[in-house]
Symmetry: C2
Subunit: 254 residues, 2 copies
DNA sequence: AAGTGGTCTAGACCACGCA
DNA sequence: GCGTGGTCTAGACCACTTA
């Protein structure tokens, strides 16, 4: 019997089918909890449980007190590879996208620089000994009021102390070039991408809705000598980014 | 006042702090719902709501009727780049990992081949016209009884019809080499990685717990002539994979 | 048999934004 | 003021596993 399936899940199943099937396109309004309770001859609590399933799947959002709506999906392109070439590559895509939309929202970023004890995973990746400090460059990219992603770069303090790397402003020539000028040109990068649910801190900083996972992209930059000099952690909300790479066979085999 | 924060969230906050702070290490048992309700002088329903928060964050799992436990995190390395060189690269890592664990679980895979109408996004990426069919090679990798990831490869039917590509067995020399032998050597690959919550179908196929996001990795392979010949979609559960890339500056600029 | 989480009922009061 | 979702209470019955 299919009716062994709990009622709140059957409610969710039905609405999910309507959404993926196109009967309820992105942006459209769903029945209210009270209406659903009536339709299914149950209480509001059970209807609430059904809606919660879809919210946690990232399919719908509650816009109180207007109601539930089918979520829109408009990801931005994210290309880790480009960062080698242009100083602020995806910020360009970023601005371009907003310009295209013409909705008056401004793309921007804010930068903070500080000195800190590295987190254990950063210390590991930079092969630092206990007590060694790092400079941290924290950048938040925004569109309108909304934060789009967070990037934290970490470099051993002795490498960048007193340089432009620590300027809390946009460095036009790119911070990687600054590292090069300091004698620490990055020639190899290791990218690690993990997928997880956000921490509560990330939820507030990125104003994430429930059911929105994040990609955590950690790029470790190495010098010619094979020494790690920079660890950059990007937090990318899943509903706003697609990560893109290109690979060429001949080059990789060369 | 901090007590403006809903009670069920304060319950979740407290337990989350104990988990991330190390007081409740991975694998340890949490209080039962009844115990929590008593401790916080509320009803079980509210305690349930608190636990649901942590479950949806992927921090804990309910192992009924034993109780709630802090989730363990043991990801596998996933390297899209390796696929150019070895035929079954991460399956090796796969087997190695299981061997290391020595827990008797067998790593394996099952393969199914079929002919189908391509999904719209696959048709797009392969630049097919309406009505053109594709061959689909669907592979599920397992450890013990548990599915670890799903891979669906799509190639225009006329390219691989009658070849080994369509054999529903492990092709030792690799399916990419088969494509090469057929005159469609892949020399460039575009990787797209999206992050989202799983569909109900994926939840059952991969036996995913709640609060587990997935990475959807779509690799489109191009021939020397720049024509797309193969679209491979990998679904990677977030709790079991870390995606790794390596980039070299000199090569990329060459 | 006891204890666990899973589901469900039938209510209640609240903050919020819109008409 | 009204309808929305957000939260909460005080119960209930169930399936399942372990002791």
């Amino acid at each position: 019997m299919a009716s062994r399936r709990p009622l709140y899940q059957r409610i969710a199943d039905r609405l999910r089918a309507d959404i993926t099937g196109g009967e309820l396109p992105p942006g459209s309004k769903l029945p209210s909890e009270a209406e659903l309770a009536a339709q299914w001859e149950t209480t509001r609590s059970t209807a609430v449980a059904g809606m919660r399933v879809l919210v946690n799947e990232g399919l719908i959002v509650a816009d109180r007190p207007r109601g539930y709506f089918v979520r829109r999906w408009e990801p931005m392109i994210y290309r880790p590879q480009r960062e080698f070439h242009a100083p602020e590559p995806d910020l360009d895509i970023f601005r371009q996208r907003v310009a295209e939309e013409g909705d008056g929202r401004q793309a921007g970023q804010s930068i903070e620089v500080s000195i800190a004890n590295p987190a254990p995973d950063v210390r590991d990746r930079l092969s630092l000994s206990e007590g060694q400090l790092v400079a941290v460059r924290r950048r938040t990219r925004t569109i309108g009021e909304e934060a789009y992603n967070i990037q934290d770069s970490h470099v051993p303090l002795n490498v960048v102390q007193g340089s432009d790397w620590m300027s809390p402003e946009d460095v036009a020539r790119g911070t990687n070039r600054v590292l090069g000028e300091l004698g620490y040109e990055i020639v190899k990068v290791l990218d690690e991408i993990a997928v997880r649910m956000p921490t509560p801190d990330e939820v507030t900083r990125l104003s994430l809705g429930p059911g929105t996972p994040v990609a955590e992209h950690v790029a470790t930059g190495y010098t010619m000598a094979g020494e790690p000099v920079q660890v950059t952690r990007n937090i990318l909300p899943g509903d706003r980014h697609v990560i893109i790479y290109e690979r060429n066979k001949r080059i990789e085999e060369g």
